[in-house]
Symmetry: C2
Subunit: 190 residues, 2 copies
């Protein structure tokens, strides 16, 4: 046995993450993932019985990673207002990664949303998770209508995510933070 199951799985997911995210899901063949992961095709298929299963695992891991990175930034801030603004600092950090290419869920949804209900569902769940996190932050900050504030903040975040991807600049995060400050000033009780 060349490599144990756990590390093989990790190597495959690492390769899938890098390739799927950079080039899109459809543009990457299973053979490219085999080459990048160093795992044999046979093993690859016994770890993930189809490309669809691998795509799902790729999105699952992205979701978990993204959530934990967000939580890390948010938890570093103390008062409720700063915790909300930390979301945009997190985005700014994310946008500066050299391989930043937008949101994997939005990209995958654009590619497969109509043909793969599973991908559409995962994208919806991912965004719903973000929505719940923001709603919680808005509630903690004492917003009179937390869901509404959360929706407003989500729009700024999603807008920044796609604009940053297309423009190639992390600046949209700064602009989104500015707008968030204005919204918080208009919404939160002083």
């Amino acid at each position: 046995m060349a490599i144990d199951t756990a590390t093989a799985q990790r190597q495959v997911l690492d390769a899938a993450d890098e390739l799927f995210y950079e080039r899109g899901v459809q543009a990457v063949g299973m053979d490219a993932i085999r080459a990048a992961s160093g795992v044999s095709l046979k093993r690859l298929y016994q770890l993930f019985p189809s490309k669809d299963a691998l795509i799902e695992a790729y999105l699952d891991r992205r979701d978990a990673l993204w959530k934990s990175m967000l939580a890390e930034h948010v938890d570093a801030a103390k008062n409720p207002r700063d915790r909300i603004l930390a979301v945009f600092d997190f985005l700014h950090d994310w946008f500066q990664q050299r391989d930043y290419r937008g949101c994997a869920f939005i990209n995958s949804f654009g590619e497969l949303g109509t043909v793969s209900p599973r991908v559409a569902e995962l994208a919806l769940q991912h965004k719903e998770g973000f929505r719940q996190a923001l709603t919680q932050l808005a509630k903690s900050a004492g917003a009179p209508d937390p869901e509404r504030l959360a929706d407003h903040l989500i729009l700024l975040s999603e807008g920044a995510i796609t604009r940053s991807a297309i423009s190639g600049s992390p600046d949209p995060a700064i602009r989104a933070r500015e707008a968030a400050v204005l919204l918080l000033d208009a919404t939160l009780p002083s």
Copy 2:
């Protein structure tokens, strides 16, 4: 001659628009476009010498159509503030089309952005056009920093575009309009 060049071109572009937008660019073969357009493969290739050329024409037409629909909504409003808010009414109308699937440029960028510089460029140009239109509206409304206000409004719009696509509901346009009102109140001189 079965059909003249102009109508053949229109039929092909109609088919390309529908199929590319619904299923994504890579998932649609040239043969599917031939079948949907009723134009022979030979003619298709003499109208558009490659799939890349057809994709480019598809995006060009989307850009023109989108801009004219936006202008139509904006021009129906009289005072500068309402003209800005008309952008979000336009989005709400757009989101309610039964085949709404998000922004074709964002979707195409996600699919081909890294591999096709031309698609990346077209997406950037499309968004830049939107940015200039919003900057003009912000200027007319007397914003002290029109570019900044335009950036904030863009973030709300783009966010609504992707959220509406993923959630399948047109409501994000309403939420975006609410947030825009708050931003305008905080930004524009009374």
